[in-house]
Symmetry: D2
Subunit: 305 residues, 4 copies
Amino acid sequence: MAISFRGVFPILPTPFLPDESIDVTSCGAMVRRMVEFGVDGVTILGVLGEANRLTDGERFQVIEACVEAAAGQIPVVVGASHAGTKASCELAKDAIVRGADAVMVTPHAEAVPSDDKVLGHICTIADATDAPIVLQDHPGSTGVHMPLDLVLSLVAQIPTIACIKQEALPSPPRVTALKAALDRPAPILTGLGALYGAFELAAGADGFMTGFAFPEVLAAMVNADGEGAFNIHHEYLPLIVFENQPGVAVRKEIFRRRGLIAHNTVRAPGVGLSKTAAEQLEHLLTQTFATADIQQRITPGTANR
Amino acid sequence: MAISFRGVFPILPTPFLPDESIDVTSCGAMVRRMVEFGVDGVTILGVLGEANRLTDGERFQVIEACVEAAAGQIPVVVGASHAGTKASCELAKDAIVRGADAVMVTPHAEAVPSDDKVLGHICTIADATDAPIVLQDHPGSTGVHMPLDLVLSLVAQIPTIACIKQEALPSPPRVTALKAALDRPAPILTGLGALYGAFELAAGADGFMTGFAFPEVLAAMVNADGEGAFNIHHEYLPLIVFENQPGVAVRKEIFRRRGLIAHNTVRAPGVGLSKTAAEQLEHLLTQTFATADIQQRITPGTANR
Amino acid sequence: MAISFRGVFPILPTPFLPDESIDVTSCGAMVRRMVEFGVDGVTILGVLGEANRLTDGERFQVIEACVEAAAGQIPVVVGASHAGTKASCELAKDAIVRGADAVMVTPHAEAVPSDDKVLGHICTIADATDAPIVLQDHPGSTGVHMPLDLVLSLVAQIPTIACIKQEALPSPPRVTALKAALDRPAPILTGLGALYGAFELAAGADGFMTGFAFPEVLAAMVNADGEGAFNIHHEYLPLIVFENQPGVAVRKEIFRRRGLIAHNTVRAPGVGLSKTAAEQLEHLLTQTFATADIQQRITPGTANR
Amino acid sequence: MAISFRGVFPILPTPFLPDESIDVTSCGAMVRRMVEFGVDGVTILGVLGEANRLTDGERFQVIEACVEAAAGQIPVVVGASHAGTKASCELAKDAIVRGADAVMVTPHAEAVPSDDKVLGHICTIADATDAPIVLQDHPGSTGVHMPLDLVLSLVAQIPTIACIKQEALPSPPRVTALKAALDRPAPILTGLGALYGAFELAAGADGFMTGFAFPEVLAAMVNADGEGAFNIHHEYLPLIVFENQPGVAVRKEIFRRRGLIAHNTVRAPGVGLSKTAAEQLEHLLTQTFATADIQQRITPGTANR
């Protein structure tokens, strides 16, 4: 499946049963609903997916359930980052064998960091598979700050880098700089829960790969003109900001309320939804959507403001 | 001057001339304009004030210019955090001698962190001065995570802690928990550029001590009811989010555009305003305020949406 | 197998073939030689074992090869730390099923750290298995600083904590404080490459669980009186210090030269032996051991000084 | 005073009275004794000097007392690092005005780190003064990892960089690499308490700029041949390792016992000498020096082993 990496590729949470085991049923249901919502693909086993809290065997369960549910209708991108280069290669190859359409990788923080180590790490992973690669640049979770030149060099050297997931801050000027300097038209998707979404699109981003629980809103932004994108972003910004609070509990609760997953369980040592967050979320969803059924696809512009 | 620590206490940037020396004239002008905007006090020499990039002599210039301009009409809170406990005591005492009405202090990250060190640090500073103390809890800049019990213990032991500047994330549940557990009614102000402002107020916060460049907007939120606060927050949220990008350049530029300071100069190694940010800010201010004169006090609810 | 956790439990590297795949043959050979060297047990899949660079499947290979080679003659302790509590439980249970005699666990750094999270993490792991647990306190690799009271509380609450691997700095006073405060006689082993070994023993430590490539030297220290331990430590201190340089390449090279493993391969993005380190090590081994055959068990006191 | 930056430049602690105020008398006494010990210069207000816990006024006191005591007999190098570039310039210029012979600077960790920021920071400081500059590369305290190319570029661009204080780990291969690549013969001094001293000298280092409390021992190493340096290092290695424990309390206590300073007071939130460390140090000094008077200049090779 050739993937354009333009549009919206939601980062999906990993659904757990109340005992924290993988909720395979919800994996499938969630992906099928994403197809209905019209997303351009899905990304699993990223930071939001609590990938770093899973055993390899659990990864395989999640990948297989999601790939099966996608059923070739939308591409499935699988996070394959690992502290070890060879292990990252193995996770990437395994994901492809299990039916993933692309893999997402990040550099890993080292005691003695260096650009050369990052270059070697990513190049080795790219050599291990023919699959398209999403290069994630998210210092907030990796602790690795890649200079612009390093990203450009990686894209120049590795033809299979099919997308840059640009989450280094401040993101809009970084998008502008990448667009101006890239020697081939690699698509740039942004993340960070779409907090700066309108500004990133205005700077030239090609869409979103992020965990905001209403991907149809982001799709409407991508499809609108600049003013339109700004207005849609503005409309949902309280919700985007609320989701931006650290932890994955709020997003999992919204996924649960949308009927996408059965439980909002977060894996320890992550923390679940606080009472304050639960109450404020309830109120906020009412303020944002009034009587609209959030289990259905939302149409931006019809929200109750 | 008895200070209520309710309402809005803007964190002010430190104005520089183009050669990065202190712009004393702008210090005074900025504070006088804040009085006109109706703020409840000002806070200088915080993180936004690039306090960590100043010599002690420059601190003194800034304090004296701001205190003189406040002219007793509003209290001036001065950041007095330092890696050394004794030095923090000296900065605090010096600020009071120069006319400050209160000091703001944070714990400092240590190679071997411990709650006892934080307790000792803050208690020693409190012993050094009779002045009211704002205890700032901002792990994002300090790297120090204070357990709730430690904050409660500090407030219980130190009667001169007059305010908690609550910026640990997620902030709304933390405000709720503090309000429920404090054994005396210490006011809680929040910061973080008011990103979560409506949610923090709903959780019981008493106001804001933060750098958002339109304090009159925050004051309107504090004075509104819950729904009203949410609506005002929503109205200005694109600007609040835009300002939330790392670095102080965007805020200094807004301060400049509002006529509060003469230059948007940031001290190295901090970075100035990028071209992308400058263009996006120009556009955003127009979207937010239409033809309103932002050099004057803004009245929320009249913005062009 | 009841384990006393007194004496010397070397932390073993994970041997790789030149292509970075697991060298199962060397796993077995290395463990059998450790038995010959008279160690009290071995610990695998710690930081030195590059555990964080392995897939789960590779872990299993290493565990099985080492357990088989130990053949019940010495206990095998297996590192089972993981960012996720449930995954750490699974790794621990799996290790026991594959024949491990005990597991070693650490807390994991969280975005919002708290003692309660650490307590919950370790207690949950302890609930998942009846096996003896080595509680590793190594802020240098985990980034987690456990207050003394937290360690005491864990030991008091979890009867299966059979050993504290004490690597918080400065270590000798910490050993003293633990010994004085523990409510049951939990053995304390120290690590850090034995850099402070004589001082830790003098403070009351029960032995070593560390990666120094000459465990028979550490055993001689444990069996000597204070003055004797100091003298042995002093004799080998240049080598201990040299090994203390960051990275695992030097230790793997010594293991290779001792005939314990076939290759000194380090997994990327870790770095291999530098030319300078190789030359200095060659020289240092000659200075330390003269013509003694380091492939055989060394007898401290006979070195050429 | 032209400075060769070869030999031994001890990093001196800042002496405090028991109330933590500057002990000006000890500043002078300590420097005069260093002259007697035959050092090639002294460095004040580094990390060991608790420089980050002093007010600017206290810095001035320390500088003036030390410069006066040096009386032109040995050069005085003054740490002038600061989070702000302009402030660092001011501290550097001020130090020179007060009689310092050179300044030592480091890059400062930034939220968004980049080599360009480091380059700009150091170049700006160099432009501000004609004085010789010691470029300190100590990631352990700064958190800044400078690629080798960046150090080379700084030395090439800034003719006043008179010395590299090389403390990036592992240090011996780094010394080798610098020596091979530098386009002018800039001297390289090493630090880290001389933990790797013999190996750094063997790799080509020109001497030491570090806090080990017996600089005459380091001088003897510099003046010996390779085997001799190794033997002297070995002789004192237990003491070097013991001093290497985190914190400055042990070093200050040795300075006190040597009669160099009057008190071992450490500034809060730093911690003083633990009971365990005090007892172990007492024992260790006896083991190392037997009945020799450590208040006098020590002659290596005569220690009681």
